[in-house]
Symmetry: C2
Subunit: 243 residues, 2 copies
Amino acid sequence: MNKNKPTLFTSFSPALLHLYDVNNSIVVIIDVLRATSTIAAALYNGARCVIPVDSVTRCIELGKQIDGITAGERDGKIAEGLVHGNSPFEYPKEFIEGKTLVLTTTNGTRLLHMAMEKGAKEIITGSFPNLSTVCNHLAEKKQNVILGCAAWKDRVNMEDILFAGAVISKIKKHFSINCDSSHLAETLYKKARKDLFEFMKKNDASHYHRLMNFGLEKDIRYCLTPDGANVLPQFEDGKLIVK
Amino acid sequence: MNKNKPTLFTSFSPALLHLYDVNNSIVVIIDVLRATSTIAAALYNGARCVIPVDSVTRCIELGKQIDGITAGERDGKIAEGLVHGNSPFEYPKEFIEGKTLVLTTTNGTRLLHMAMEKGAKEIITGSFPNLSTVCNHLAEKKQNVILGCAAWKDRVNMEDILFAGAVISKIKKHFSINCDSSHLAETLYKKARKDLFEFMKKNDASHYHRLMNFGLEKDIRYCLTPDGANVLPQFEDGKLIVK
């Protein structure tokens, strides 16, 4: 372990985030299925910004106020009062370019606000579609990093940990990693990486089943594919933007 | 998924225990290095009971009161005022038979008391030395199960998850498992089971390093070896006993 290297920790659930030194770190918000994947896709396709909000009411309110696209789902359907859903395929360039997306998600938004309240040095969002950009950014910044899994109502989920493992396997040489969660994530990712979709299926991942039941195989496959939307969403003044 | 089967969940950290339906479940307290392994060893070797307590002060107090063996470590050394340490090798039959062990541990005891306060149906302790007995008991009881990892100051650790995975790989057919943590634990265990010690070493497990630094390789090997002390420690009236 090189003491001059910055540290890297992985938090498997928002309920564990307080264990880490948030205010001295870059926090990567990870909500693979599907919030942070859709955020990457929308920004990659030219959205001006994405504003994550925690409720449908707030989404409607803010959408009106700033003339933004309101989006969000509850139980696999577009939430009442909103116009779009959570799928990355709803935000092609022709539609989203130059627009503001107001997106309501529960787990990812909550974690993002927690990181903000705890004074994170910087907050970015990560997903397989923007894997390489996130990794390059973290390697260049030489700051302490916390990979924050959004999980599902605080319960650990498979896909967020797999993404953490993918990041670690790419950039670990730049960091001092004294964190069993990180080592476990990397081990799992190495076992899964040949075919992430098959791994999720074979290992009965809860979100795999949930989304397959909604007919969303295409979404799952997109969200598990690296580098389809390589942008760096950074959270500033309540908005996710690409600088 | 068979709805008639009882459920099984794995809680990776005491900070996640509240997410599960504790008062409708058997909770297995898992603190592989070394509390629950040492508890199994002491009871297997004939200790009358083990009383887990959360502080050195309480350990000394109670030890005097009931004429018990006081034991516990802080930073790898026997804590001041106590007579024995946390190693399973300190409790052979010749020494411990018929005696009461008052053991202070931090993570395991805290989780055990949490499970008690939340009204667990039954609390038992699990470790590799009593793996088969724990598995047989859970399979026979046909009740909902929570595998509770004691972790390290709420931070996830590798060995407790590996033990959860070992249990799951043995008894999963008896349970309905809709829990990514459990599936992850099983996957990790399958990858590790050929040589758990090597797996811990190769994957930089934090407790592996900590205990190796104290010269405790023998302890680690014992604590990762299945079925060396097949008893069922059950928590009743503040004591762990074998019925």
